[in-house]
Symmetry: C2
Subunit: 328 residues, 2 copies
């Protein structure tokens, strides 16, 4: 290996931004590493350069820039804590990624035998004794022995290609993003088609609380109508139509008047609104829908349910036909 | 820091499996690291202990168990390549995670100046010169200087809490999995509710290809019917009803006969099937649906579209009311 031609070892000059982008293809969790300065002051910073190293003895590592203001403190510290952040701790991640403010202001800390700051609400935490510090170019690699750890049910926060994310676990073989979704199946209609999956998921969800609809003698159209008014009322007939047109469900004036006749709606100055009976009916059905959501969430697991809500929001936003805003 | 009480530094005895689980809360990508033995034989293994270290000079690291059969080869190697796997390379990951077989059998390699094995189809690749080897408990930490790299549009494969995954990027603030989805909003009906998001996503998708339905003069019920028969035919009236009941759309015998009268369906010995005109109509609509899917996929990005399809499959499976199998 002493005979390598110099051309092989001569790195090409990298565009720093592009190189960072390439590194970002390797997904990571997000951690906050904490310690205390010589004066006892709490110190912490966001890092995604964490990884496991050894099981016996239990060891982990992370890297810190030589230029970091907190380097001297970490270099001297006997102990530090690594907090693997949960998916709802994005704000905390941002707070500890910025310099200059009192990052710990207002934060409650859990008790920690080593005295190092221990933040609550994380997906996992590793209390470490500093073991080795190694050279790593413009960074120092910190290796610590894990003295204690804990973990929670909170799904972890991810950082992938420069963005926060949550994990969507794979369910059976999935066509690659570039692949033709139909490649695996012959017909024109495939079970990998997004439209099929959306429809089937929607109707299976609806089917689970259809008994509650039947109990309240509500059609799908009436359910959409009452849901809408539970968020925003009163609404005029044309406003109602504007909110509901994308469902393909036509709500005629006759249907609105029938709902009034049944005592579900009333007409006021500003338009239609729920009567107490209409309000009771929609609350009953929404409670059933929430029970279905809780049940399916338990079946899918919290990580997946969170990820699915995220992605549906992204899709709803990408496919929004310009609906009037429903929630304030 | 020399005065630490011994109790602080005395690690409690960890259950190895539980400790691994806690480490698994830190999400990672999946890499395959390759090199060549002294005899020139290609060597490679799956590792998720990769991370970036330094930007200037560009450096990365990963860890290898002291007990690994490939340790001597990597310890002697002048160069190694890190392949950040794409989400459709799960099989490759499994192949390189197992010992004993010829992992490179049948694999095409890309040319690589250092001569080390370079696998195609990855999300990103880093060609490295071995720089440092550090002690890390039962592992050796390999630090390499990046000589060259490349990246592709392929979404990366993830490994989180012991499972493969893909990234679901966050879209606006999302309630934590443990949190009440309604916490942020007052009413009983919230825009974080899964049922709402599913319905809105489904109907917005439908709304995009509704013009194609109108062109073919197909109602939603007729579209469901023709889609069903495009996958499996002939089907009897009761079989059709069994497949469609969960949508809440009732398909009467009258409606079936009307579809026959319009020349979309025909009755054969085994039941209803598509006429050539019915086949043309559904192909036209499905082509429109695929165009919508491609358009939204481009809007969401391939990672997100892949993740969404994954999660919808998980939800469909979790909420399946026991539908007859549609695809073979």
């Amino acid at each position: 290996m002493d005979n390598e031609e110099i051309s092989v070892d001569q790195p090409r000059v990298f565009d720093a931004r592009d190189f960072r982008k390439a590194l970002g293809h390797f997904a990571t969790g997000v951690t906050i590493v904490t310690t205390r300065g010589e004066d006892g002051a709490a110190i912490g910073m966001t890092a995604n350069s964490f990884n496991s190293v050894s099981l016996d003895p239990p060891m982990v590592l992370w890297s810190l820039a030589r230029s970091a203001r907190s380097l001297p403190a970490f270099a001297r510290a006997s102990h530090w804590n690594v907090h693997v952040l949960a998916c709802d701790q994005e704000a905390l991640s941002n707070r500890f990624a910025r310099a200059g403010e009192d990052k710990f202001a207002g934060l409650a800390l859990d008790p920690c035998p080593s005295g190092m700051p221990l933040l609550p609400g994380c997906s996992a935490r590793f209390q470490c004794r500093s073991a080795f510090q190694y050279e790593g170019g413009d960074h120092i690699i910190f290796v610590g022995e894990v003295i204690d750890y804990d973990r929670s049910a909170a799904p972890p926060l991810l950082y992938v290609t420069g963005q926060y994310a949550v994990a969507a676990h794979k369910c059976g073989p999935v066509a690659g993003a570039g692949a033709d979704p139909d490649a695996a199946q012959t017909g024109p209609y495939s079970e990998d088609m997004l439209g099929y999956l959306l429809g089937r998921a929607h109707y299976q969800f609806m089917a689970r609380f259809r008994p509650a609809l039947a109990e309240m003698r509500l059609s799908d159209a009436e359910f959409f109508l009452l849901s809408l008014l539970s968020v925003r009322q009163p609404l005029g007939a044309s406003e109602i139509a504007a909110h509901m047109a994308y469902t393909g469900v036509e709500l005629t004036l006759d249907a609105l008047q029938a709902a009034c006749a049944r005592g579900l709606l009333q007409v006021q100055a500003g338009g239609y609104s729920l009567t107490p009976a209409g309000n009771d009916a929609i609350l009953h059905v929404l409670a059933a829908a929430k029970a279905v959501e809780a049940d399916l969430g338990a079946g899918m697991g919290p990580v997946q349910a969170t990820a699915l809500r995220n992605l549906l929001k992204t899709l709803v936003s990408a496919s929004d036909p310009g609906l009037p805003k429903l929630w304030p």
